[in-house]
Structures are given as C-alpha cells and as structure tokens.
C-alpha cells in the first residue's frame, strides 16, 4: 500500500466501487460531453488582435488607448514598392506607385493614402502666395525629366526621407502608406476583408507592372497574421500530435484497442477544456488555440501510468475486473496527486498580467482535471469492456530501469556531485538571458508576413512607431512659439540619438511653411516667432490638404497635444526602454512647458513617457516576469505543500523540491547558453512546468515511501520504486517531451518557446528524477533531515530568481559624471564603521519663536552596497518624549526602509510604516527622506557644472542634479553642491514635485575625524515656501565606539532608551 492510502482499504474500496459502477461512468461521460459542447460555439473564431496580450488594467495599454483616442488610430499599412532595377524615380515605377496610390483608395475602410506621387509639395509663388500640389501630378505619363525633377524635390524633403516614403539612403524602394479607419465592430471579418482585397490589388499591380514587387507591413497585417498563424498552428500541429500519441501509447501498451481508448480519453479531456473556455466566455486566440494539445499531452501521461500498471496486473490474472481493480488501488492516489498538482501549476498562470496565459492556464487546468476523472472512471470501464488482449510477456524495458537503479545505488555520490556541477554550469546561463519582445518577430521567417515586415523595416522605416504625446497645457497651446521651440529642440535631440534615424513632427511642416510664406527664403526655415503665424500656417495648410488628409494624426483636435513619432525598426526591448528613459530625462530638463503640463495631467507618472504598440510589448515581459515570480512561488509552495501532505513526510517532501525546481531553472540556464533571447513565454514556464515535472517525482516518491514504510532500506526502496514506476516514468516523459516538441514547431515564438522550454525542463526533470533523486534519497534518507541541503537548494533558487531580474539601463556622459561624483562622495565616506553624535534641533517659525529637541544619533555602516546603513535616534528632550527611540534599517529605493519605534512609557517596541518619506521629522523642516541614510542607487544623477561653492566661494563645487528613483519622494530633484576637494555636501536645493525650489540646506563647520571623515557641526534648512527654518547642531562625534550591527535590531532597541 502506498502512504497515499493510509488505511489501505480506502483505495481498494473506491477501486471496487469504480469497477462495479462502470456502466455509470459511460453514462456520465456522455453527460460530460454534453456539458462540454454546450457553450463551445462561442470560442471561435480566433481573436485576431495583437492587443489580447494586454489586460484592460495594464497601464501601458491604457496609455496607448488614450493616445489613440486623442490622435487618429494607427491602423496603417505600408506597401513597399520595390523596383527590380533598384531606382524608384523611373517612369515605370512611378506609374506603378501612382496606380497603387489611386486604387488603394478603393480598399475597404480606407481613410487616406500617402505616397511620393500624391505628396503635397508646397512652395512659394510670387509674393507670399503658397502653392500646394501633388509631387507627381500625373503618374501614368511621366517623362524621365519630370521623374528626375521629382527626385530632386523629394530628396530635399526631410518628411520623405526615412519616414516610410523613401529609404534613409538611396531610392531603391518607396513606400505607399495606407491609413484605415476600421469600424472595429467585428475584427474577425474586417481585417481579413481588408487584407484579402489588398492581396488582390497586389496581384493585379504586380501583373501590370512586372518591374516592381510589392511588400506590405503594418498593424493590420500583424493582426491578420495573429489570425492566420493561429489557424495554421492548429491545423499543422494537430495531425502530428495525434500520430505521435498513438505511436507512443501503442509502443508502450502494445494494444491497438488500448491506444484507441487512450485517444478517446484525451480527446474528451481536450473537449472538456475547450468546453470550459466556452462556459467562461473565452474566445480562442493564438495562445489558447494550442490548449487542446497541452491537455492531450498531459493527460496521456496519466493514461500510460494506468495502462502500464494494467499490463503488470495481466501477468498475474486474466480477470479483467481485477486488472482494473488492482491498477486503481495502486495508482489512484498518485494519479490524483499528479493531476491536481499539474492543474494547480497551470492555475497559477492566473498571476500573469497577460490574459491569454490566464486563459490557457484555466483551460488546461480544467482539461487535466477532466482527464483525471476520465482516467479513473472511463478508462477502467473501457478496460473491462473492451476485448484488450492479455499480454503475459514481461516488458523488456524493465531490465533497463533495473540497471539504472543499480547504477545510481553504486555511484550515488558521484551522481550527486556530477548533478551539482551540471546544475551550476547550467544556472550560470541565466546571465545570458535577455528579455526581448519584438512582436512582429514573434513570427518566424517561414511566414511571408515576417519576410515582408523585415523588408519594409530594413529598407524604409520601422513599422511601429514610438510616439511622444507632448502636452502644451491648454487648448491652442501648440501654437505657442515657446512650446514649439521645446518640441523642435526635442526633435533635434531625438535625431541625434542612435536609435532614432527619423523623427516625424509637425514642427518640420511649420518650419517649411514659414519658409514658403517668406518666398522660399532658406533663412526662414525655422519656427515663426508669433503664435498667430503658426496657427494661420496650420489652418492654411490643413485647408489645402487633399481628401482624407488632416492634421489629426499629428496634433489633437483641441490643438493641445503635439505628437512626436519615431518609427522603430528592429529595435531591441532594452534599446527602446533606454531611449524612452533618456528622452524622459531630457524633456524634464529642457522642456518645462511640456513637463509641467504632463505633471498636471498625470501626477502619478513623473516622466513624459512614450507609447506605441511596440513599446507596450517591450514592457510586457518586464512586467510579467515580476508578476509571475509571485505566481511561480505560489505554485511552488502549493505544489510542495500538496506533496508533503500526500506523502505525510516532511523530509521526503522537502527533498522532492530539488528534482522539481532545479530542472526548470536549469532549463532557463540551458536556454540562456543556447539562445539567450527570450520572450514573454519565459515568465509562465516555471509555474506551468512545475505541475508537470512533479508528476514523475510523485509517482516515484509514493512508491519509494511505501517501500520504506514496509521496512525496506533506502537502496531497496529505490530498487522497488524503479521496478514499479521506472518504465512508466520514462515512457510518459518521452511522450510529454515529444508532445511539447511538436508544439515547439509553432512559428509563433511565444508558443514555440514555451513548448521548447517545457520540453527541455521535462527532459532535465526526468534525468533528475532517475538519477539525482534516488541518489539524494540514498544519501540523505538515512540520516536526520538535512536542513542545510534544503537551504542550499532554496539558495540556488533565490540566486536564479535574482539573476532573472534584468540589469538596468546605462547612463550617459553627464549622467555618468554625476553618478561618478555621487559615488566618489559615498566612497570617501566609506569605512567609518560606526559613530554616535549628539544632535540638537532648533525649530524656528517665521516670527522667530523657537522650540528645541535634543537627541543622540547612533549609526552603523553596513559595507554591503545593496543595503543601506543602520541608525538609531534616541530623544532626551523635550522630557516627555525622553527615551523614545527610532531604529531605521535603510534600504535601497524604491524599497521602503524598515523602521521600529520604542515607546518607553509602555515599554513597547513597534514596527512602523516608513512609506512616509515626505512627512516632517518631529515637525522640523527636515523630512524623513532628508534624514535617513541616502544610498547612491536611490537617485539618478546628472552633472550640471562646476562653480564656486555658494556658501564658501573660495572652494570649487561640483553641481549635480539628483533625481529620486522613487516616485513617492517629495522631490522632483535635488541640486547638490559638493566641494571638489573633499566631496563634502555644501548645499542642497530641494525642488518639490512641481519643480519649484522648496528648501535649501546649508552645511557648515566641517571637521575631520579619524583623519578621514568629514562631518558638519551645523546643518541649516530653510523652507522658502513657509519661511520656517530648522538648525541641526551636531556635537560630540564619537567614531568607532564599538556599536555592533547586531545591537541595531528591533529586539535590542529598548536598551538604547535611556
């Protein structure tokens, strides 16, 4: 008996009941089928929107939605016209472009078509007259001379170069940009309709103009691809999957009828999963369309366990009912546990921020649980009813598992050491992992879509645009010359960035119009100085634009927000994030109008942030990896808890963590070495595979545990466990690996990687289960439970998790210098060990009334730069708060510090919240964040200039701006003056969240201690807003007086209260 059935009789009785009521199960199956298909109609057709990956509550998606509500929605298509002779400006190619431009207007839902032929060429005509005309008025009959003239004009227009119309260099291809206004009523119809008609048009034009080739890209095609690829994945992968399952089951069971029974079961399980999707109101998508394959792969494993046990029973008896009875009695517990843990792992996908994964998790969980039900009821019923042939030959492969058992027993030490070495080597691969979500490249090169997108992005422009909506603060504000100057400077700055080759902005158009209005005088290729002039130019320009063209894709209707767009082509996630951060910093410094308007509009987002579907995708992994860390942890705790409960053995349960957790982490490590770049898929793999890999562990451990309880030695128990389930473990794992191997053939990277990672993980898990786990059991099960071993495993896990968090962005030159100065100041102040000092605070209000507080401050330095220092403040005056002590364990931002307060009146120490950074410290002008230990990583820095120190002009000061990383800070920035000689703080100007100067802190009376460390005698904080000031007078500094880190614990705090 296994420990899963502690009374022994329970399983036997349940098994007996199942066998006796077998007719009932057939009826129940029929009922379940009915239940499954009742709502199944709702799950098709496939949801073809790239945005399914973003939940409504995803803040990045909300920003994108808001942007698209403000500007015209970005349903665009870029058709690259590639002349085979490599020159666009020929009569033939221009004719093709012209025809495409003309006929594209007849595509469904088209709003606007732009190309080089209908490009609005503006120029001056006589005195201040403005002429607007098509660049190529009659494309069908262009002379070579006209083509050359058009080329000369076009190459002079920055709006055309690198913006999708012409390549950044040369004229080898041109783009026709088609904007659509999809009603959005039924995307499953609208998108295929548009794409279908475009394909027809393409065929016609390529036929009529054999010298050109058309390649289209854009969000419409991306969405269409989501639809097409989903269907393709479904169609191409299902067939091989069925064949494979039949093959594996057939080989393992050697019975066609049994294989068919298994096939029936897994189909019914998949149906149940899809049925649940229907009941839950899900619509299938590119991710969930594969859920039936997941379910089938997983359920087949339990079925194989049942049937191979059945085969062993056949050796002893020919009573079919007895086969079923014995199989169930022996394996029911393990199958239930294995299925429940698998379902639990998948249910933990609900922690993902991306809805398709949540749906996948739920569908698969239901399918697996249904599979469990069928395995325990329908399958035994079928065994008794179907004339499955009795096979009395002992399976040959049993010898293999016996040999593995003997090998492990003889070499357990070597196996463990080798396993550990492998684990370390693989885990090092974590450093190679790089999150990379470039969603057009989720589809691999086998798709025409991907080839076309690559062509367009390599030759013309990024298909997806990173957009900065720059607010001017008031309706009509975009005409303000000061604001336009800010935007123009930003555009220039962007153009100087390596990631942004082209930038689109209305400021270019306005400059151009200004020049046109001044007789095409090049000197006037600049912004007008009057708001009225800018407004009039725009009105004039808009009136003269052709049908379907307006400015609403550049500026909102209120004339309040201006868009600056940068097409991103093959930009890595990290590069895009980096650019957006740098741009945010630049805008904060150099665009006060936009920054102030932004802060008024979005008080929670301190930095002007771009948007765009690419950008939203680029953030999703960052967000989801963090969300799923929690999910994976829940899965880990839940599943381990279940195993411990089921095995009723804490020690063996804890041991099982090693073969369960290590494979997933080693899988990631292997991926890091082999591939490096991962998408969103990686975030969910740990939780999903955990439930799968534990199955083998559960089967093995339950048999092992039973043998141990029966009195066998660890070695013999390993032998027995191998004999009973070794074969089934190998077969099921192979079938799972093969199944996921087929899923890995998906051309959609998220699906493919998820399946590949799962297959790798399960393979490693099999090795771990067959070699490492028995070795561990043999070596550890003899002695007392070894806490340190488990702790080591947990340590490895923690290390891996730490490595998963991607490294931060790089800093720039002025930022590097600022950082270097801050770092130098910190470095020079390192190594003081501990010090205590007496402090007196003199609070002075505007009228000069004073009040005082006296305290002692005790500090211990923690050398580890990843944590902050320790500090205790003990008050002695006013006397009513005497003995009140505050302990602070500083942490690196944005993590809150840990703080405890000791109240002597009641002798109570109390952990208090320290999220109150901005609050006044004992009603002084110092806030908590001014006084707590400030660590270098708490801020980002930018060196501004060197100048004489304001409070001591004989010294030279570095002036550095530091920006708090934590949005909860009360400051937008601190400007710090540090003297160049000793890097001592001389003055700090605090700017509040609105950017206004709030307080100034001046340091004086520096003295040097221990021949090295400088400390001030007086710190004066003046609040410019209220007129109040606080002096902080320091005296009696004592360094290295033997304060110990241990004493600065919450429990010892009371001893400092004197």
């Amino acid at each position: 008996m296994t420990p899963l059935q502690p009374t022994g009789g329970v399983s036997a009785r349940v098994a007996e009941a199942i066998v006796r009521l077998r007719a009932l199960w057939l009826a129940m199956t029929v009922a379940l089928i009915g239940l499954s298909v009742a709502q199944i109609g709702g799950i098709v057709p496939l949801n073809a929107d790239a945005r399914i990956f973003f939940a409504q509550e995803n803040p990045d998606r909300q920003a994108l939605d808001e942007f698209e509500a403000t500007f015209n929605k970005n349903d665009t298509m870029i058709v690259a016209v590639a002349p085979k002779d490599g020159e666009v400006f020929t009569p033939e190619t221009l004719a093709a472009v012209g025809e495409l431009t003309e006929r594209a207007w007849y595509l469904p839902f088209v709003r606007r078509v732009d190309s080089i032929t209908n490009f609005q060429h503006t120029y001056a005509d006589g005195d201040d007259g403005l002429v607007v005309r098509d660049l190529v008025p009659d494309p069908a009959s262009v002379t070579p001379e006209e083509a050359a003239e058009a080329k000369a004009i076009a190459l002079d227009r920055p709006e055309l170069i690198g913006t999708g119309f012409l390549p950044a260099d040369g004229t080898a291809a041109t783009g026709v940009q088609i904007a659509f206004s999809l009603p959005g009523v039924d995307q499953e119809v609208e998108i295929p309709e548009v794409v279908g008609e475009y394909e027809a048009l393409r065929a016609e034009i390529e036929a009529a103009h054999p010298g050109v080739e058309l390649r289209a890209a854009g969000i419409i095609l991306t969405n269409n691809q989501f639809n097409v690829a989903g269907q393709e994945d479904g169609q191409t992968l299902f067939g091989p999957m069925f064949l494979l399952i039949l093959l594996i089951v057939g080989l393992a069971i050697r019975s066609i009828l049994a294989s068919l029974a298994v096939l029936l079961m897994i189909i019914l399980s998949a149906l149940a999963g899809l049925g649940a999707a229907g009941w839950l109101g899900y619509q299938l998508n590119l991710i969930t369309v594969l859920s039936p394959l997941y379910i089938m792969t997983l359920v087949v494993a339990s079925a194989v366990h049942v049937l191979s046990a059945c085969r062993q029973a056949m050796l002893d008896t020919d009573d079919r009912k007895e086969w079923a009875r014995r199989t169930l009695t022996d394996h029911m517990g393990a199958i239930v546990l294995a299925s429940v843990t698998t379902a639990l792992g998948f249910l933990c996908l609900n922690f993902s921020i991306s809805p398709p994964f949540r749906q996948l998790g739920n569908i698969v969980a239901v399918g697996v649980l249904a599979g469990m039900l069928y395995t325990l009821t329908l399958l035994p019923a079928l065994i008794t009813y179907l004339p499955i042939r009795r096979s009395t030959t002992r399976p040959a492969a049993q010898a293999l598992t016996g040999r593995i058992a003997e090998f492990v027993i003889a070499n357990s030490r070597a196996v463990l050491l080798g396993g550990m070495a492998c684990a370390v080597a693989l885990l090092a691969g974590f450093s190679q992992l790089k999150l990379e979500d470039d969603f057009p490249r989720y589809f691999d090169e086998r798709y025409a879509f991907r080839q076309n997108t690559d062509f367009v992005e390599d030759n013309l422009t990024g298909v997806n645009v990173l957009n900065w909506p720059l607010p001017a603060g008031e309706p009509g504000g975009v005409n303000d010359p000061a604001f336009l100057a800010e935007v123009s400077a930003f555009v220039d700055w962007l153009r100087a960035q390596p990631e942004a080759t082209t930038v689109t902005s209305l400021t270019d158009t306005i400059k151009r119009l200004n020049m046109n209005m001044h007789g095409d005088d090049r000197d006037f290729l600049r912004l007008p100085t009057e708001a009225e002039a800018a407004a009039q130019y725009l009105l004039l320009y808009e009136l003269s634009l052709g049908y379907g063209m307006d400015l609403t894709d550049q500026v909102d209707i209120q004339r309040e927000i201006l868009r600056v767009g940068v097409p991103m082509a093959r930009t890595s996630t990290a590069e895009m994030r980096e650019l957006s951060l740098r741009a945010g910093d630049w805008l904060r410094e150099n665009a006060p109008i936009a920054q102030a308007a932004w802060e008024a509009k979005y008080p929670d987002v301190p930095m002007i942030t771009p948007t765009g579907i690419d950008y939203v995708f680029s953030l999703i992994s960052y967000r989801d990896v963090r969300a799923m860390l929690v999910g994976s942890l829940v899965a880990l705790v839940g599943i381990s808890g279940l195993i411990m409960l089921a095995l009723r053995d804490l020690k063996i349960g804890a041991l099982s963590l090693v073969p369960n957790v290590a494979p997933a982490l080693m899988g990631f490590g292997a991926w890091g070495w082999l591939v490096g770049e991962v998408t969103l898929a990686i975030s969910v793999v740990l939780a999903a595979t955990l439930g799968v890999v534990v199955d083998d562990t559960v089967h093995f451990l339950s048999k092992y545990s039973a043998a141990r309880r029966a009195g066998a030695s660890a070695e013999d128990a390993v032998r027995q466990a191998f004999a009973k389930v070794g074969m089934a473990m190998i077969v099921t794992t192979l079938s799972l690996v093969a199944g996921f191997g087929i899923l890995a053939q998906s051309g959609f990277a998220v699906n493919g990687e998820m399946a590949e990672l799962t297959a790798i993980t399960i393979s490693i898990a099999l090795v771990a289960d067959l070699l490492i786990m028995p070795a561990l059991l043999i070596r550890l099960d003899k002695r007392r439970p070894s806490v340190s071993k488990v702790a080591a495993a947990a340590g490895v896990l923690a290390l891996a998790v730490a490595l998963l968090v991607p490294p931060g962005a790089h800093a720039q030159s002025a930022q590097e210098k600022g950082l270097a100065i801050a770092q130098e100041a910190k470095d020079r102040d390192r190594g003081w060990g501990d010090f205590s000092v007496e402090g007196e605070m003199v609070l002075r209000d505007k009228g000069g009334a004073e009040s005082r507080r006296v305290f002692e401050s005790l500090n211990v330095e923690r050398p580890d730069p990843s944590v902050g220092d320790l500090a205790i403040i003990v008050f002695s005056r006013p006397r009513d708060i005497r003995g009140t002590a505050l302990l602070t364990h500083a942490n690196i931002e944005p993590q809150d510090d840990d703080q405890w307060l000791y109240l002597p009146a009641v002798k109570r120490e109390k952990r208090i919240s320290s999220s109150n950074r901005t609050g006044k410290f004992v009603s002084s002008e110092f806030s908590y964040e001014d006084l707590t230990s400030q660590e270098v990583p708490d801020y980002t820095y930018e060196w501004l200039r060197d100048e004489p120190c304001p409070n001591a002009p004989s010294l030279t000061c570095h002036v550095v701006d530091s920006f708090p990383r934590n949005a909860a800070s009360g400051y937008s920035r601190r400007t710090v003056w540090l003297d160049a000689q000793h890097f001592r703080f001389q003055q700090v100007a605090f700017h509040n969240r609105r950017g206004a100067l709030e307080k100034t802190l001046t340091f004086s009376g520096y003295q040097q201690y221990l021949g090295r460390y400088w400390r001030p005698d007086l710190m004066r904080m003046v609040n410019h807003q209220t007129g109040k000031e606080t002096d902080l007078i320091w005296s009696n500094y004592r360094f290295r007086s033997g304060l110990r880190e241990d004493d600065f614990s919450a429990q010892r705090l009371k001893t400092f209260s004197r």
Partner: protein
Amino acid sequence: MPSVSRPFRAERTAAALAALLLAAGPASAEGLAPEAYDLFGEIELEGTGFLQSPQFAGQRRDDVSVAGKATFLAEWAGGDAVLRITPFARLDAADDRRTHVDLREAKLDLYRDDWSFRIGIDTVFWAKTEAVHLVDIVAQDDRIEDIDNETRLGQPMLRVGWLSELGELSLFYLPYFRERPTPGRTGRLRLNPPVADARPVYDTGAEEWTPSFAARFAGVAGDVDFGLSAFHGLGREPALFLDPGGALRPFYERITQVGLDLQYTSDATLWKFEGIHRSGQRNLSFVEESYLAATGGVEHTLYGVLDTPGDLGLIAEYAWDQRGEDALTPWQNDLFLGARLALNDVSDTSALILGSVDLGDGAVGVRLEFERRIAPNLSLGLEAQAFLGFDQSAPFDAFADDSYLRVRLTRFFGLK
C-alpha cells in the same frame, strides 16, 4: 494611608542585587563608580469627573489624585552594565487602594555580545495589537492605575536573552507573583462587590512564591515581525468566586499559555495578529477550561492629512475568545474601530479615539485620549471613557454608570 501593595521580601532581592553588582561589576574599586548616571522623572496631578452618580453604596463620586515616579540610572562598562531603579507612588483622594507605591524597576542589565542578563524587578510588555493585549503575560496589570491594560507592576525576574540573526530568545524565571490590584469599595470602575484583593486563594502551596517560567522568541523576517511565547506558572488573571461570606475573592492557579503575535508591514498598512492558547484557567463560571483567544486587525496611516504635516492612523481590530460569555474579559466578540491623530506639530499634539462594540450584547465603549505639551516640561492630557449600553453585559454592568472624563497635568524633571 499608603500601603505597599502586597509586600514581598524586598530585602532578599536587594541583597541578591548587591551581590551580583559586586560580582559582575568591574574588578577595580574605582570602577564601581558609574561612568554615567542620571535621575529623571515626572509628577502628575490628575482629576477625574464621573458623569453619573455612583451605582453602588460607598463609592465616591469624583476623584483627585497625585502621582510621581523617578528613575535613577547608572551605567558601567560603556553601557554594557546598566542599573535602573524606578519607584512609583500615588496618593488618591477617593480610593485607599489606589493610594499605592510600587517599584516599577530595580534591575541590573548586563550585555555581552549577543547575550543579555537581567536580574531584579522590571516590567515587560509584549504586544502587537492596539486594543486588546492577549499575549502579554509576564508582568501583572496595574488595574487601579488605568483600565486600558497598559500599566504594569514591577515583576521580580531573572532573564537571559540570546540574540540571533532571526530574533531574540528570552528566557524568564519569575520567582515571585504579584497579585492584581483592583479598586476598593469607595472607588469607581470596580466590580460589585469589590474584589477582595487582600484575601486571594491560591491553587498552590507556595502561594505567591510559586515560580513561573516564560520564554519568548521575537524577531523580524522581512516585512513580518513575529513573536512566539510560552508561559507556565501562576496565571496573572484571577478567576473570581463568591465565598460564603459574600466576598468576591480572586483565585490564582497554575496555567500554561502559548502565544503567537505577528505584524505584517505593507507600506502604510500594518496587519496585526495576536493569538493564545491557555489551559488550566477557570472561567467566569469558575469551571476550568482550555481555550483559544485571538485578536487582530489593521492599522492604516494616512500621511499628511488635509495638507497638514499631521498623520491620521485608522484602526480596525476584532477580538475573539472561545469561552464566549464565560470569558473573564469583556473582549470575547468585540469589534474595535478607532483613529489616532498625530498633528506632528511643535507641541507633539496627539489624539486617539477608540470605540468598541460587543457584537453579542451591543455594549459600546468609547475611549478618547488627547495629549499636548503646553510648556517645555509640562504636558496636558485628557482622557474620556464612555460605557454605553453596558447594563446588560454582566458582570461588567458594574461599569455602566462609570463614564468619566479625566484631566492630567504632568511635569517632567531631570538632572540633565
């Protein structure tokens, strides 16, 4: 007449203390002079007005009282040996029993790396929650000082503490037992008849010399502060019985209690829990019964309310006792809602309002505390307590007419 509340053999303790001082102090003679010392304390004047006339014969209506305490502090070996002596005394006009003196502290603390030793008299307070303090058990509640269960009598003890990475383990040997003082016949806020403090009944032969033992492991794990405690010895909370002479007499017996207290700190929100299991304690019906009790809740602080520097803490807690109506405490199924305001001004003005609702009988208690420094060494305190609908909740219906308002003026003094 002042009377020492239950005299114990102070001379024995003093002798032991002196012996230890000599043994543990620095070897050289001049080393015996403290490196640092201080004397500080406070004197308070208190007036209490009750809103209704007394319920029971003999109770005085209002009360005026003077109290004081002083602490003598001396340190040796750079603070690794600390002597603290804090006597306390109160003179009360209305209730002779409230006129009492106590040695709150008379202890020597020695620290050596991660070890700490204490011998002498001290008070100890273990708590996480705000309204009800279940886990705290070492020192007796000084019930005549205040009814909020936060003042303790000095407890003779020998304590060994060991500090580890995860927290501190403390072991207590408590050789002597302090009986719980309660208001007398003329005092308010008492049961009826008043508890016969002077005639307790012990379940043990050694009576107040019955030793008790306690252990606690308290530490911090990330955002969680936890404490695990165990106690075996004379229960601090007496069961009460009416003797044939009609006196309500306290009954002290051996109990065993284990307790768990937790606090999870999440940004501005503190989640708190205290739970105990106690066996060997007789309940209100004087039947011995093992029971569980728990209390927990949440404290959320709003910083900078209404654009002032002030903080407003919102408190919601619930207390439960398995014994239900048989519990010795009124807090068996009660909900507490309250707010704590700290103005964070120059005068450290603070206020607390805490309401309790007995979800069983609907009795409502409201407590209001206010404190403000009015001069550099002078503090003004207000305390108001209302008992609403207590008439039905026996035996605490004795408090039904005892709603009061108390004003306290405290003067602080010190050598330095």
